[in-house]
């Protein structure tokens, strides 16, 4: 019984700890895809954001300056992607892969001197102050960036559904013909959506290097930026669902290590695959009856 409690607590702690980068990248990707463009480059933005945040925090001593710098670096890299994809006959998937490689390359090149030093990190907000249990206190120590991510998701959801700007992004993403008829600036909208989406992904990178695991090295991301692209499909292009999907991924990721500590030691490779198996199952269940493309922006190149 105690073991189950431990595992559940570890999964709660894991979902709060690990989910934030997934959340930010999937929100950014959601915004970009809503405008009708795919940005696979967010993996590169994540790594670049992590490096820039760590370096800035180290040089200035202020982790929040690091977060801001990471967002700016994401804005710039996403801006390049957005600008180039605005040109005629540029494939956004291929371009995204180029941006991904460029982003990680730039991050590794300029990040070399920052692997060894220790930067000032973000501190968590102790929501577990009421408990005497050190495990609970630690689990409930929440990074301010996580709360910022939740706020961003709610804001994005509201923006898509209730504001003129959000509606325009959705029109551009759903039907190019309708957007043309309405006289909306298609290229400019997509450019801005891509740049802002990557800025969010950059903040996700800042979380990796400045909070958890909280150091800069070259293996830091291990593909989380790419997984977030899948999470957007999983959450059906809905920012609120992005929160649930990210939390679920975080919790499922914590399952493997915590089961091993309570003595369930067989099949850890299987438990490590849990998040992916779960995604598959959910996709299969929700895709019944030919509804697989529900919620998908009509102008996405993978859907055309």
């Amino acid at each position: 019984m105690e073991a189950i409690g431990t595992v559940l607590l570890a999964m709660l702690a894991g979902s709060l700890r690990v989910s934030t980068p997934f959340l930010f990248v999937s929100l950014g990707e959601c915004l970009t895809e809503k405008s009708g463009r795919i940005n696979l480059g967010n993996e590169g933005v994540l790594v670049l954001g992590a490096m820039v945040a760590y370096a800035t925090s180290y040089e200035t001593g202020s982790p929040w300056a690091g977060v801001a710098a990471a967002a700016v670096s994401g804005l710039l890299l996403g801006g390049i992607h957005g600008a180039i994809c605005s040109l005629a006959r540029v494939n956004d998937v291929a371009m995204g892969i180029a941006i991904m490689l460029a982003g990680t390359g730039i991050a590794f090149f300029f990040g070399k001197p920052y692997v060894q030093p220790s930067a000032t990190l973000l501190s968590g907000i102790p929501f577990g102050f009421w408990s005497d249990n050190a495990q609970v206190r630690n689990a409930l120590s929440v990074c301010p960036l996580f709360l910022l991510g939740i706020a961003a998701a709610v804001a994005l959801h509201w923006c898509f559904n209730a504001t003129r700007v959000g509606l325009r992004v959705r029109i551009v993403g759903d039907s190019q013909d309708a957007a043309l008829a309405l006289g909306l600036p298609i290229d400019r909208t997509r450019f801005l959506a891509t740049a802002c989406g990557s800025a969010l992904a950059g903040i996700g990178g800042a979380f990796l290097s400045l909070y958890y695991p909280g150091s800069w090295n070259e293996g830091l991301s291990s593909g989380q930026g790419l997984m977030a692209v899948a999470l957007v499909v999983f959450s059906r292009w809905n920012p609120i669902n992005c929160i649930y999907a990210s939390l679920l991924f975080g919790a499922a990721g914590a399952l493997g290590p915590s089961l091993q500590t309570v003595g369930i030691t067989w099949g850890y490779y299987l438990f490590y695959a849990a998040p992916y198996i779960f995604t598959l199952v959910v996709l299969i269940i929700t895709a019944r009856g030919g509804k697989s493309l529900r919620g998908m922006p009509g102008q996405l190149s993978i859907g055309r």
Partner: protein, 375 residues
């Protein structure tokens, strides 16, 4: 911060692969070869970044010492994958830099890449870290490795003196013999001090997965573990996470005391400079370089980190005393009767396996007192 590292790496990268550069290289080669007659050019190839606080840093630190030796030129390349890329790197070191002694340091480089290159370039000496060479392989190739399990045994003794909860943690990458020997040695070291101590092992499945390693550290701490050590390529994240949560750490691969100034007890480190000095002296003196080299604490292939402030006086004395015993040679950590954690006898009574024992090469069990499983 550290200034950017001025190695010949970028130059070689630029030269390589461009057609025009071939001509340039040919011009460069003549002067290079003239110099190579007197001097020795040594190439080091790393699989990861050379400042990873881990496996690659241990080699790079030794390479930096080699660089200071007279008459030696060192060329390095880091982050070379265990693919055909390493063949290209070796070839460019041989042809463009005039290297005559190569150290490809990662396990996966050996078969087929090092073997192929050794067959192709018979005058070049290849020494690979990992200990796979057999006498069927080319004579200009070879292997070296160190018995670091003894250092993990000493880590275990130090950990046993520091723990209050009697629970230790070990974060391991994959259940292969080298890793399992380390886990078992650590657990046996701790139990030599207090037989009630348990060691929980978590396998992450990959050599480098920072988020999963941090997650593993946190779940171990959640279980009341208060000393953690590891066998992954870059222990940085584990050491930092443990320090932040206020528990003790034992290092692995390189000295990580800077990452955990409060909780670092001691650590198991490689000391590759011993091997490299010996090989280079042989090469310079025109003597054959050994094909198969292995050594432990006594031979100076591995060493312990200096004690951290958290280790008690009794702990220091105990570690120092056992280390002195090991230095005499022939010390066995795996002594019968020894059971694995499923109750099977793995070392029969009356038998003892020293670090050189062939039986340990196929170690596929976790000893009694380890919580965990290999599959």
């Amino acid at each position: 911060m550290k200034p950017p590292n001025p190695t010949s790496l970028s130059r070689r990268r630029l030269l390589r692969g461009t057609a025009g550069a071939a001509g340039l290289a040919a011009i460069g080669l003549t002067s290079e070869q003239a110099r190579a007659a007197k001097d020795l050019t040594v190439g080091f190839i790393y699989v990861g970044p050379k400042d990873d606080y881990g496996y690659n840093q241990a080699h790079a630190e030794a390479a930096a010492m080699v660089k200071k030796m007279p008459g030696i030129k060192v060329v390095e390349e880091e982050k070379v994958p265990e693919t055909d890329d390493v063949s290209k790197t070796m070839e460019s070191m041989i042809k463009l830099d005039g290297a005559t002694l190569l150290f490809p340091t990662s396990f996966g480089y050996f078969d087929p890449y090092v073997l192929k290159m050794a067959t192709k370039y018979k005058d070049i000496q290849f020494r690979h870290c990992g200990g796979l060479w057999t006498n069927k392989d080319p004579m200009n190739a070879g292997s070296y490795f160190g018995y670091i399990g003894m250092c993990q045994y000493l880590n275990g003794i130090a950990a046993a003196h520091a723990t209050k909860t009697k629970k230790l943690g070990f974060i391991a990458a994959k259940p292969i013999p080298q890793v399992l020997i380390n886990v078992n040695s650590f657990a046996l070291g701790a139990r030599s001090v207090d037989p009630t101590i348990t060691t929980s092992v978590i396998f992450t499945g990959e050599w480098s997965m920072p988020v999963k390693e941090a997650e593993a550290t946190n779940s171990l701490i959640g279980q009341g573990i208060d000393v953690v050590t590891c066998h992954v390529d870059g222990p940085k994240v584990i050491m930092e996470t443990a320090e932040r949560r206020g528990i003790y750490t034992c290092g692995y691969h390189a000295d990580q005391s800077k990452l955990a100034p409060k909780g670092y007890l001691t650590g198991a480190e490689w000391n590759w400079i011993t091997v490299y000095k010996q090989f280079i002296a042989d090469a310079q003196g025109g003597k054959p370089i050994p094909n198969f080299t292995r050594g432990g604490l006594a031979e100076g292939f591995v060493k312990m980190s200096p004690f951290g402030p958290a280790l008690s006086e009794a702990g220091r004395k105990n570690v120092t005393a056992v280390k002195a015993e090991i230095m005499k040679g022939g010390y066995s950590v795996f002594k019968g009767p020894l059971k694995d954690n499923k109750g099977n006898v793995v070392v029969p009574a009356g038998k003892a396996y020293p670090e050189t024992a062939i039986e340990l090469e196929s170690c596929n069990y976790l000893v009694d007192g380890v919580v965990g499983s290999t599959s």
